[in-house]
């Protein structure tokens, strides 16, 4: 071999070797080995074949070493030294492994597809299921009643409809023959835009049984134009802790209340109403300032008179949000408390429970929040409704509910 071959000539050797190799393998049906290696010339005289194919280097050597040698010799002269090495870091997979990888890919894609399909089916089924509401029955006992009293609670409708003008809902409420109906707020999203909706519903309900309505955060903020908490209330009326007047808020004009009461239902704003049910007397107290910051400062007297007067009466406390029950622990709230607001945590995960509330974050029940169902508040039953709103697609495993509470003497 002429050691003084010029540099330009040497530079062309790898390509020439490859061209020659490609021709030979085409003739011998070994196409699979084409473009599986690079050639480097070391010190102008030695050849290094760097294999980077997917087959093992052993197979490559077995099949191609002789062909490569003849190609190299024909280009660079017989006896040229060469070695075959594998590219560093290259992963070499066997045919079986590649087949398994392909199967795995297929499997993973299949699984992902099945999971997505299942999720879509679940969401769709839930959405369709949520077009209808279920009835949840609770049984409560009290020494104060002689015979059964039935209370029906509607909560968090947010303007949803069950049948035209809620006829389906009203029909069921009527069929269940309640003694008292309580709406625990957020029946509409916007008081100004949905007054007719609320009035129609109120008319329907008041024709069935005595009906009470407690404002939720949606109604209250829409009517008063500010959130009902202690700071905002103090600012609004210029009060401080020494001169607060509980009745100031109640004196504000409320056309929504007028319309509802015109439809035959009673709006309870930090006040109680007493009615006779069969031979029993029942006090229903509705909370307007349900934010814990202003509950005592803006309704202590009203609440006190409800609790302390006529202690033999069966006492029901209706409030939109359950936060006061989480925050405070007086001796007595009432014989039965009903509330809503939480939407039952929107999605209910089997075993783990409610998924999310705005105030409690993820899995709020685990941190002791009252989210859905029956709880104990100062030794008496507290029912938190998941509400009747039905337009949320994320409301999964949590069908809208109509709460039916039967009160018995034992």
């Amino acid at each position: 071999m002429d050691k003084k071959r010029n540099f330009r000539e040497i530079e062309k050797y790898p390509d020439k070797i490859k061209e020659l190799f490609d021709e030979v393998i085409r003739d011998e049906s070994l196409d699979m080995w084409a473009d599986t290696f690079d050639i480097e010339i070391i010190d102008g005289e030695k050849i290094e074949v760097i294999y980077h194919g997917t087959e093992s280097i052993k197979s490559f050597k077995k099949e191609c070493k002789k062909i490569l040698a003849s190609c190299i010799y024909s280009v660079m002269g017989v006896g040229t030294k060469f070695k075959i090495s594998q590219k560093r870091g290259a992963i070499v997979l066997s045919a079986e492994t590649r087949k398994n990888i392909k199967a795995l890919k297929f499997f993973v894609i299949g699984m992902v597809f099945v999971c997505i399909a299942t999720a879509v089916i679940v969401v769709m089924c839930n959405y369709i299921g949520n077009r209808n509401f279920r009835e949840t029955f609770y049984s409560v006992s009290s020494i104060k009643v002689d015979s059964s009293i039935r209370v029906i609670q509607l909560s968090d409708l947010h303007g949803s409809s069950y049948g035209k003008n809620n006829t389906k809902l009203l029909k069921r409420v009527e069929a269940l023959e309640p003694d008292i109906i309580i709406c625990t707020g957020d029946m509409v999203d916007s008081v100004k835009e949905e007054t007719d909706y609320a009035v129609n519903l109120a008319k329907g309900l008041s024709g069935i049984a005595p009906t009470y309505y407690v404002y939720g955060n949606n109604e209250a903020e829409d009517i008063y134009d500010f959130p009902l908490n202690e700071k905002e209330l103090d600012n609004k009326f210029g009060f401080n802790k020494d001169n607060r007047d509980e009745t100031a808020l109640l004196k504000l004009k409320d056309p929504y209340e007028e319309k509802l009461e015109g439809a035959g239902i009673k709006v309870l704003k930090n006040e109680k109403d007493t009615i006779k049910v069969k031979t029993m007397t029942v006090d229903v107290y509705g909370v307007l300032t349900s934010n814990p910051s202003c509950f005592w400062s803006y309704s202590e007297n009203a609440f006190g008179s409800y609790v302390n007067e006529n202690k033999d009466n069966f006492k029901i406390m209706a409030v939109h949000e359950p936060f006061i029950f989480e925050e405070f622990n007086p001796d007595f709230w009432g014989d039965l408390m009903v509330c809503g607001h939480t939407h039952g945590g929107v999605t209910r995960v089997p075993v783990l429970g409610p998924l999310f509330t705005v105030e409690g974050g993820l899995f709020p029940e685990r941190s002791g929040d009252f989210v859905y169902g029956r709880y104990d508040a100062s030794g008496r039953p507290l029912i938190v409704s998941s509400g009747l709103e039905n337009s949320n697609v994320f409301r999964i495993n949590n069908q809208p509910e109509l709460v039916v509470i039967d009160i018995n003497k034992f």
Binding site: F107, V114, T118, R134, F137, S147, N408, K409, F410
Partner: protein, 450 residues
């Protein structure tokens, strides 16, 4: 029904694959030698993507059907908490009958309470089963068991498939509780209607109050007999309340009100009331004459009784402790003497009533001025309020005692779908499908011929 069929169809399909594959392997194994057979099992693709995917999909589909199927079945445990339950008795001492949990009346109540549509009592009842949670034996005494817990199981049928199973069982159990309370427990209620005293004669008002207070006293004495030491939340006992009521009756009603009315001869319609009392006296006098005649007749019969027939007859008998004694039997003359005494008492009572009425008539006739009417009306109102107060106090005490004794009467726990149970079923099913598919895959590798 539809889900039931599909669920069974899935299980059947997988079962057929399992059985046929196993059969193929069994019959074709003779076509290969031991080494080949081992080779087939060794080289089988146990993690074949298709197998796993089909297994996953089938399990999901089965899981959905299974979930709907499980939703049809709910059961509840009804626990009897009152003390008599351990003797298989109702709280009023009658024999307990678990079949009442799903009797027609309870089921009918449940349908009405839940406003359940398109279902009859018979259809719903056919879906319900009740049985004791722990069942004893009849072999020997050690096997006897009185269950105080009963399971009620509901399985939805084609006719009741549209109903929410959990609600149905809740309604059945709460209706049973209501039924039980109405039928077997103490019932207390206040008479809510105040009588129109302006339409009643004053002496009738006195009688009304006496009757009311006596009813309260009877109730309190009855309760006191059941548990004399029971103390209410405000520290009273039945006897202490009864003492107050008795004293009130004696002083306010009998002494104050009655005396005030009689002393002043207060009456709404003098003539009519006098006529009424006179007519009453005539009736009572008629009774008195009858009783007097009967009394005389009894005495005559006793005189006529032969002395030989009055001998004492002693009969050997034994008392409750099992000890013998000689009992004296009654003879005819004993019965006659008892009757004579009774008639004599009746006569005395009739005479007293006539005298009382005459006294009232005399008083009304002699005074005749109603100057004290307003003070009597005030007293009547105040007595009425007090009587109602006692009634309320007695009923509250009774309710407290009843609640204490009944210990919530009946407790109900409802058991619906268990997520863990469903998961277990799904895991078992997935394993079954996987084994079937792998067997099927392996069976294809066995040659048909040797």
């Amino acid at each position: 029904m539809f889900t039931d069929i599909l669920q069974k169809l899935i299980i059947l399909t997988v079962g057929i694959i399992f059985v046929s594959s196993a059969a193929i392997i069994f019959f074709r194994q003779k076509n290969v030698n031991r080494a080949e057979r081992t080779q087939i099992f060794k080289t089988a693709e146990y993690l074949n993507a298709w197998i796993i995917l089909i297994c996953f999909v089938t399990t999901i589909v089965y899981g959905i059907f299974n979930h709907f199927e499980l939703k049809k079945t709910v059961h509840a445990i009804v626990s009897l908490n009152y003390s008599e339950a351990s003797q298989a008795l109702n709280s009023n001492g009658t024999r307990y009958n678990m079949a009442e949990i799903i009797c027609d009346e309870v089921v009918e109540r449940a349908i009405k309470k839940g406003a359940l549509e398109d279902v009859t009592v018979k259809q719903l009842k056919n879906c319900l089963v009740v049985y004791p949670c722990v069942q004893g034996g009849v072999g020997d005494e050690s096997q006897y068991h009185i269950s105080t817990e009963f399971a009620v199981q509901y399985y939805a049928s084609k006719d009741t498939a549209h109903l929410d199973s959990e609600n149905v069982i809740k309604l059945i159990t709460s209706s049973y509780k209501e039924y039980y309370i109405e039928k077997y427990t103490d019932n207390f209620s206040l008479d809510p209607e105040k009588p129109d005293f302006t339409q009643m004669e004053y002496m009738d008002i006195v009688s009304y109050f006496e009757k009311e207070t006596q009813a309260i006293l009877n109730y309190l004495y009855g309760m006191s007999e059941k548990n004399p030491s029971f103390v209410t939340e405000n520290g009273s006992t039945f006897n202490s309340i009864a003492g107050k009521v008795y004293q009130f009756k004696e002083t306010q009603i009998d002494q104050n009100l009655r005396s005030l009315i009689l002393q002043n001869g207060i009456v709404r319609d003098r003539d009519e009331y006098v006529d009424r009392l006179s007519y009453q006296n005539k009736n009572v006098d008629f009774d008195r004459q009858k009783n007097e005649a009967s009394y005389r007749l009894c005495n005559e019969a006793i005189d006529m009784y032969s002395e030989e027939m009055t001998r004492v007859v002693l009969v050997p008998t034994w008392d409750q402790a099992g000890k013998y004694y000689m009992g004296r039997t009654k003879v005819g003359v004993d019965e006659l003497s008892v009757m004579a005494t009774n008639f004599s008492n009746y006569v005395a009572s009739n005479e007293k009533e006539i005298m009382d009425n005459n006294l009232v008539i005399d008083k009304i006739a002699s005074t005749g001025q109603d100057t004290q009417i307003s003070s009597v009306d005030t007293l009547i109102d105040s007595i009425y309020e007090s009587v109602k107060g006692f009634e309320k106090e007695a009923i509250t005490a009774g309710r407290e005692y009843s609640r204490h004794r009944m210990n919530q009467c009946i407790a109900v726990s409802i058991y619906g779908i268990s997520i863990m149970g469903e998961l277990k079923t799904l895991i078992l099913f997935a394993a079954f499908v996987y084994v079937s598919l792998v067997l099927h895959h392996i069976s294809k590798k066995f040659p048909k011929k040797a």
